[in-house]
Symmetry: C2
Subunit: 351 residues, 2 copies
């Protein structure tokens, strides 16, 4: 029931800090003061945990993505309202859901709810699992031409009979709030160029570092995982901010050794508890993107969610770490809302 | 007169080796067996050298870019001829030169000569320094529409009154043989996507590693420099080949320490002799992209060319290293010819 314990722990000791810098503003800065005890399990990868919150100065700051995301959503709501009052425009997000995967339906529902909470208009198109690629392309084309829509999102994965690349490429670059278009990625990689949108999850990771005032410039950063959706763009973002970046992947021979050199670790590999305490440089800041279900007969649903980083080991060595859940997860949707607002502002030239 | 000495040295001990693998073929594999003696100069960065070629088993293999480029040009000439005979198509490269910079004129002349040597048709448009951006765009547009042109190259730098980004973006992505278009860079960065063209100099670096049968997969690679033209795409290419890549730049605090971990070093920073022997892991392979003129009263022109790596120190520690000149330099033009041929083949669906 670790995930519940995290949640309980997170609600116990929140303090409001004011962080310097024009774009920081007031943020919630929570110090997790949990006393962590490690219980080894049979699996080398598994690290079961038992947390009791108490005062322990050696514990890392728990980077509270839930609280930061809430702050960002509040900021967005203010901007959306200001835009509506000033020029009568409401940002609009269109979501295309193909098939009836339950997880996808849940994600889409959550995105719609998040839109509503900040005043962004959301439209949803549901297409049958066996619909044709042309039908999806037609929906995209309609939204590309619709001036009330500023962001278009095609919920992945698509049914296997469809060409994902072809479909994603059809989304107008000006409305590609997911930021996955190669032209956006190219601009992200190039000095002197700017992407129209930054992919949501990596943007959320960097935003957490900013909001917690973590210095990136000149620091060594390691990104574990090189997916198009998280690892690769996260590495490009860190590099844009002048970190010295190394990317670790399945072919890396000594990931532990390289990770131990990092001041900032972004783990996005989808391997439960892969990054152990011995991988971490004392004082490092850890952003854990992994959300992995592991069996837990004591949990209400028979499983619990853990990250790519063994939290209870890392917590003793790192200076700050995102919990799972409640770390990066809530930031992804907040960044989707942010990208939709940015798009509407750009299209309507609203500052 | 070090550069002359390099040339002399390179001509003394060439041996023809056959390297495994379908795309390797026969290559020239030259072992530089120079006895290297270091003479320190007043400048901490300068490392003057005196080479006498003799048998010394501890010296690195000199990666002979000149010979490899010659082999590649011969391969291209065969393909160009085969294409002409089979379908009557001659690959065509258009070069646009604006202004009268002497160095640019020399580069363009060399490119034209290289085209002629392999049977590629080259067209050149020269525009006055004070011509308008529209005139350049008009030339590009003509070549975009010209079916006999398969590659378009705008010689950089452009006069300061022009918007370089705007002009480069006007080149059709299908004819962007320089590979600098953000869409190409984006595809280069993404897994599961392929760029239409890979930028010439980084492509040349990787080709040298291939032709010398250097294993990249699973190796640690350090790229020094993060330019859009060399460093960044070189890092992306190494990553595509499953190296574990770190990028070092001006904000990196401990470049020496990080470089010393690398099995493969690509230096592209434009700092003469920056990478010293102490930076290099024994047995590393070094690709030196830098071509820096340094004062030398003994040289016929009063200067000589040196790389970013202090050759005479590196030569004792590395297992292989590209000389400057004669290393990466000749590869860049060879890769431009290769990209033009690839483009013609793709446009005419010729295998």
């Amino acid at each position: 029931m670790a995930s519940l314990m995290f949640t309980d722990c997170s609600s116990m000791s929140s303090t409001l800090l004011h962080v310097n810098g024009p774009r920081r503003g007031a943020i919630l800065f929570r110090q997790c003061v949990g006393q962590l005890r490690l219980r080894s399990t049979a699996s080398g990868r598994g690290c079961s945990l038992s947390i009791r919150c108490s005062s322990s100065p050696s514990s890392a700051t728990s980077v509270d993505g839930k609280a930061v995301a809430k702050t960002i959503r509040d900021e967005i709501a203010i901007d959306v309202s200001r835009m509506k009052e000033s020029i009568g425009v409401v940002p609009g997000l269109a979501v295309i859901l193909v098939g009836d995967r339950k997880d996808s339906a849940t994600y889409v529902r959550n995105k719609k709810k998040a839109c509503e909470s900040v005043g962004i208009k959301s439209l949803e198109v549901r297409l049958a699992e066996d619909c044709s690629e042309e039908q999806v392309l037609k929906s995209i084309s309609c939204f590309n031409d619709d001036p009330s829509i500023h962001g278009i999102l095609v919920q992945l994965p698509l049914p296997s009979h469809m060409d994902e690349q072809n479909i994603l490429n059809a989304v107008s670059i000006e409305k590609d709030v997911d930021g996955f278009h190669p032209l956006n990625i190219g601009r992200l990689a190039m000095r002197g160029r700017d992407p129209l949108f930054v992919p949501c999850t990596p943007k959320g990771c960097i935003e957490l570092l900013h909001r917690y005032n973590v210095e990136i410039k000149g620091k060594r950063a390691v990104v574990i995982g090189r997916s198009n959706i998280v690892g690769m763009p996260a590495a490009l973002l860190l590099q844009r901010e002048d970190a010295t970046v190394s990317i670790i992947h399945s072919r890396t021979k000594n990931p532990e050794e390289i990770t131990r050199e990092a001041d900032i670790i972004i783990a996005a590999v989808g391997q439960p508890n892969m990054v152990r305490g011995s991988w971490i440089k004392p004082g490092a800041v850890i952003i854990d993107v992994g959300i992995n279900p592991v069996d837990d007969p004591n949990a209400p649903r028979g499983y619990r969610l853990v990250g790519d980083v063994c939290y209870e080991e890392a917590c003793k060595i790192a200076s700050a770490i995102t919990p799972v859940p409640g770390g990066v997860g809530p930031m992804t949707i907040a960044m989707l809302l942010s990208n939709t607002l940015i798009s509407a502002k750009r299209i309507h030239n609203f500052k």
